[in-house]
């Protein structure tokens, strides 16, 4: 198998799985139990929180464990909307966000919030001037992704942050950082955003676990109410095995970051090889996550290419896994003004620190055969 769909999900690091195993089978207690067996799980959980906070350069009590990025994004957006609706109902975002953001904003729009979309350039990068002109007194929230999941484009988060706070210091800024971790050196201390969402399975951790960073001063409504867990802000027995595993995955992802220079070299060479095979490259190579390349081939459907490669035990993607079923082509490409044919033709190849040059070479060789067959 050659797995080149790492923006959809990643394999767990071996060490990460060992931690998952330890807290699933040995220290399986409820971290909220007051007995010693419960305390052991609680200690592991708080050590994980401390480790994540330390890596990110924030305080442990600013990290809230959730079931993943979609929950985190829902919490950040709906929590802000519901807690600040008396101050304002204006929210800014972009049309190339992940469906977790797009559909949450659409939900809020249906219940009376005023959602406005900031222009982006041809690669989906936020237009700073347009953003500046759209921030109003009643803008309660701005939410953007750090890097686009479908094509890899990186947003100028620091600039965005500065503009928001200059125009309206009360506007909260949420960053969907899902595609950042393990690909670029993303530390929260370098970005003064108010909230950020993360998902472990995108950086070689388990599925079903993530976290929301929420600045100490950021007070918003909880999404999931219940017990006193997570300082009363997120009810439910914490998933200690996955939390401890996530912290280890984050640690290893940061350790392995040096691999991204190698991956970028492979990715950039792959771009040339793809162009030689007739591809139109969509990803901006000089401003994107180094593991991602998206492209389309004139006259060929992306899903046909994906399926033909799948028969060869090679796995790439059409668009985002979260919206690839039952839809027709890349939503992001359509928003960027590409034709429906281009959008339906898009394929995404996403590498990880574990991808070898040999795998990519074998992929390109087989792709060549597949394209010849399909173009017959």
């Amino acid at each position: 198998m050659i797995y080149l769909d790492n923006n959809a999900t990643t394999i767990m690091y071996e060490e990460v799985f060992q931690i998952l195993q330890k807290y699933s089978t040995e220290i399986y207690s409820n971290p909220n139990s007051i007995h010693e067996f419960g305390v052991k799980a609680d200690v592991a959980m708080e050590e994980a929180r401390f480790k994540i906070a330390k890596i990110m350069g924030v305080m442990p009590y600013e990290i809230y464990f959730t079931s993943g990025a979609t929950e985190s994004i829902n919490w950040a957006i709906k929590g802000t909307a519901l807690s600040r609706k008396k101050i304002g109902k204006h929210i800014l975002s972009s049309k190339v966000e992940h469906s977790a953001t797009i559909n949450t904003l659409s939900y809020l729009n249906n219940i009376g919030f005023d959602i406005e979309y900031v222009k982006t350039d041809d690669f989906g990068k936020v237009d700073i001037e347009d953003l500046e002109s759209k921030i109003r007194n009643d803008t309660i929230l701005v939410t953007f992704m750090f890097a686009n999941n479908e094509i890899g484009t990186i947003n100028p988060i620091k600039e965005i942050q500065e503009i928001i706070k200059r125009k309206n210091e009360k506007t909260l800024f949420h960053v969907d950082a899902v595609q950042a971790v393990g690909k670029v050196d993303f530390r929260l201390k370098d970005y003064k955003c108010d909230m950020a969402s993360f998902s472990a399975h995108k950086f070689h951790g388990p599925k079903g676990i993530g976290f929301l960073y929420k600045k100490e001063s950021t007070l918003i409504h909880p999404l999931i109410t219940g017990g006193t867990q997570e300082r009363g802000q997120r009810g439910g027995t914490q998933n200690v095995p996955s939390i401890a595993a996530m912290a280890k995955a984050l640690e290893l992802s940061i350790k392995e970051l040096y691999e991204m220079d190698r991956i970028k070299t492979i990715r950039d060479e792959l771009a040339k090889d793809l162009e030689d095979l007739g591809a139109n490259i969509v990803t901006p190579l000089n401003n994107s996550t180094p593991n991602t390349i998206s492209a389309f081939f004139e006259g060929l459907r992306g899903d046909v290419i994906v399926n033909a490669l799948s028969d060869e035990d090679i796995y790439i993607s059409t668009s985002a896994a979260c919206s690839s079923k039952g839809t027709s082509g890349s939503r992001v490409l359509k928003e960027l003004g590409y034709s429906n044919k281009a959008a339906e033709g898009m394929v995404r190849i996403s590498l990880s620190s574990l991808t070898t040059g040999d795998e990519v070479q074998r992929f390109i060789n087989i792709l060549k055969n597949v394209l010849e067959f399909l173009r017959f």
Copy 2:
């Protein structure tokens, strides 16, 4: 170690962990990916949904995977409230519900919903006549637990269902079934409720996974919006390893149900032994989950007993793990009219199908010594 805190969480069955391992390390793909590797995960997930539905006697498309019971309960209650607020804002429940329900209702109360609590008997069982008198034209939801997590009392869910539908057929009925599975033969087909919440880690499955049963005809707002997962009703990459493991845990829990006769016998003998040691039994032995017994000892704090036993590597609980930290005594006992001293004295012993008579005998012997020491 003698683990008698199974209402807080349970150890995973060995077979369940093996499935978790398989889908964590081998078939780790995103079930929404269209390639063959993704399809394998999707098939495993849909087989799990089918298995759960079959066991429960409902349709697979009535099962929605969530991060656990707290999310399911939030979804059922808030989803109903937000989607029906134009019809009515009246919701009925009881004061002895789990904090996931109590605090969600309290949240709704703060934003303008009319929450009313039905009387219960001395053991926390819903008073049917009081319920009947309180159902109104604008009652949009009734939510009760199947069995109380702290003391084990079982509610007459079928009678409750009949009364609700007789008084107002439009009122939705949600059952918190968390403490039912693996303890009694709870099948949704026997209860015509509209929604029910479940958590895998209470029946020897993984933490961080659960499901919401939602009758096909029950249309409520989603809680977590995003991708097209779960028929568009719950966004986020599904946690396939935990979903597949949960289905196996449910299957095994049902298979092991015959053990509950043995466990009930052990529990009832334990009640006598506890009374011999001076305990006041709180749990109604003839109407409770057979694994649960709660009691208090005059003049002794529950947390002191729990900690003393913890030093002996024996784990029991004071009240619910989800509310046991930073609070003083059992909330349920206080609601039932017990004194603060009794509430602070409460201990809960919760067995599982894996508990042996020998373990319980060793527990009671050590408890005897502990009580002698503490009463010195």
